[in-house]
């Protein structure tokens, strides 16, 4: 049962093939046996999971089951979960039990899902390899010498390894799509504001967005329907109706206009990745789509603009960790300033400190206009590139990452790590949705095809991704690591 999609599991539960408790126990057993090697979970909440599974089974017995009732999943450890450790991958929050549930968590609980635990991540979602976690790196189930991607690396690895059928992640510059690509699963970053950020620990508030990571586009559609929507507790969540994302999955792609941004196929792209992506695009042509080249001329400025805007927002957001109200506090502070400075220096890891320092510097007197204002102006140009492109085509396609998963420890210096996000980061700056779907392999390591749509085009992206998955089987491949023999 660990191989099945959410939709298949829902059908099995409905048919009485097994109960949610049996399913939950089976997956908890796999986590117990396999995750020592993988390190994809920070906390496993077996007791709460079994209680939720029992409640789901009872609801089903009474005829009150919904489409997600009794289905297991995992939550990136960035979502506040009442009474459960919410660490955000940081020593700073190693002792933090959230006093409330994030809106997304509340909605998933109300839908009857069963959370098995909290997944590993780069500290405060800052990273592209999951190597910045206080709880240690996560391994890629396809190749244990490779990273799973980041920052939602634990969520991606857990789904790929068959520990859980789906997981929730967050994406500020690629943190759902890149690990989904590296781990051979499907991951959707919705439009900015589509999913409430309430209770999701903030990194860069104008870029952060939560989304589903699963084994199929269809499962992502199911989950997005459950988590999307307006929330009075998040003023940036958009008051706009939530369609049934599963209703349009089977729509024909005949006449679909696909744009290939030439900047996404240039220098730095691994030829084997390019080949896999081109093969996927030929599948779309066979489904009746037309393909043309487009240009996003400001692409090369996305990483520079991001590394002003995101750290600036982070330096402000992370000022709340002061050693006073929650989180780590240093021993024997001499005075208040000492308490702040040492609590923060001890609680935060290297990459987080680097970004706080960059953000503080670029926002400081004498530098603000040259960096922050300039980056926000460039952000508008980057968004305009996409708006112009969507005047000509329906969706854009390209690779999710220039390479497949790289080796653990391969990118030692920060800038070379940042450059990995070249194809994902502009999407957050523009606020548009994007999805990564499995589209082949380079050796043992998966390749992700990224599909981008205009604001609020999630239904279209899911339709386009689903149709590919009806015509290909990359999303059905499972790593040897997941094939337990015992």
């Amino acid at each position: 049962m660990h191989d099945k999609t959410l939709r298949e599991l829902a059908a099995s539960l409905e048919a009485g093939e097994f109960s949610s408790r049996e399913l939950t126990q089976a997956l908890l057993g796999r986590i117990d046996r396999l995750d020592g090697e993988l390190n994809s979970f920070i906390s496993v909440t077996a007791e709460q999971a079994l209680a939720a599974a029992d409640a789901a089974d009872a609801a089903r017995a009474k005829g009150e089951a919904g489409p997600l009732t009794g289905l297991p999943l995992a939550l990136k450890d960035i979502f506040c979960t009442q009474g459960v450790k919410t660490s955000c991958g940081s020593k700073m929050l190693d002792n933090f039990e959230a006093p409330y549930d994030a809106t997304l968590v509340e909605k998933l609980k109300a839908a009857g899902t069963v959370s098995l635990g909290k997944t590993n991540m780069d500290e405060f979602a800052m990273g592209s390899s999951n190597e910045n976690s206080f709880y240690g790196p996560v391994k890629n189930p396809w190749d244990l010498g490779a990273v799973p991607g980041g920052s939602s690396g634990g969520s991606a690895a857990a789904v790929a390894a068959g520990l859980v059928p789906a997981a929730l992640g967050t994406d500020t510059g690629g943190s759902i799509r890149q690990p989904a690509a590296f781990c051979g699963i499907t991951g959707l970053k919705p439009t900015y504001g589509r999913v409430s950020r309430y209770g999701m620990i903030a990194y860069a508030s104008s870029l952060d967005q939560a989304g589903p990571m699963a084994r199929s586009a269809e499962d992502c559609a199911l989950l997005l329907g459950a988590i999307a929507g307006h929330d009075v507790r998040d003023s940036t969540s958009v008051a706009r109706g939530v369609p049934d994302y599963t209703a349009t999955l089977d729509d024909s792609l005949s006449g679909l206009k696909i744009g290939l941004p030439k900047e996404y196929f240039g220098e730095g792209l691994d030829p084997a990745v390019a080949e896999a992506v081109q093969a996927a695009i030929r599948v779309y042509e066979s489904l009746g789509a037309t393909v043309r080249e487009v240009s996003l001329p400001h692409t090369h400025l996305a990483i520079p603009a991001y590394y002003v805007i995101a750290p600036a927002e982070a330096s402000s957001n992370l000022s709340r960790f002061d050693g006073v109200r929650f989180g780590h506090r240093c021993d024997a502070p001499q005075d208040l300033i000492d308490l702040y400075k040492r609590s923060r220096a001890e609680g935060f890891g290297e990459e987080v400190k680097r970004r706080i320092l960059i953000g503080t510097h670029t926002l400081s007197e004498g530098f603000f206009d040259a960096y922050y204002t300039k980056a926000q102006q460039v952000r508008r140009l980057i968004r305009q590139d996409f708006l112009d492109a969507f005047e000509e085509v329906d969706v854009l396609m390209g690779p999710a990452s220039p390479t497949p998963a790289f080796d653990l420890g391969a990118n030692k210096d920060p800038v070379s790590m940042y450059l990995q996000d070249i194809y994902t980061i502009a999407i957050n700056l523009a606020g548009i949705p994007g999805i990564s779907v499995p589209a082949g392999f380079v050796g043992r390591r998966p390749v992700g095809l990224q599909i981008l749509g205009s604001h609020f085009a999630e239904a279209q992206l899911l339709n386009v991704a689903h149709q590919f998955q009806q015509a290909s089987d990359w999303h059905l491949r499972r790593p040897d690591f997941a094939k337990e023999t015992a």
């Binding site: 009075v232 520079p304 590394y307 002061d322 000492d338 320092l357 460039v378 508008r380 606020g431």
Partner: protein, 95 residues
């Protein structure tokens, strides 16, 4: 815009991060490399381009000025490092 040691120390102080000299040297190198990459922005003409703060150009929504949250001070203080009588404890600030 070359970064200097004093910039790193100033940012660390503003951000309330303790840094020793060895840390500051390392961060000077890292931050200089990052800012060198960021400096590509300076080459582009943005005259007349309005800064973009929100990807949907949304403005802050307003709501009626009514109390909607209940008092949960005790719950919220349970995760604090040190509290007493409903107050957060910090080192003495006023002598």
């Amino acid at each position: 815009m070359a970064l200097e040691q004093t910039h790193v120390q100033r940012a660390a102080h503003l951000a309330r991060l303790a840094l020793d000299d060895a840390d500051a040297d390392r961060y000077l190198d890292d931050l200089s490399n990052i800012l060198a990459m960021v400096d590509q922005l300076q080459g582009i003409d943005t005259t007349g381009v309005a800064p973009l703060a929100h990807p949907l150009d949304a403005t802050q929504r307003l709501r009626a000025d009514e109390v909607t949250e209940v008092d949960r001070r005790e719950t919220f203080q349970r995760c604090a490092p040190a509290v007493e009588n409903g107050l957060y404890l910090v080192p003495r600030v006023v002598e």
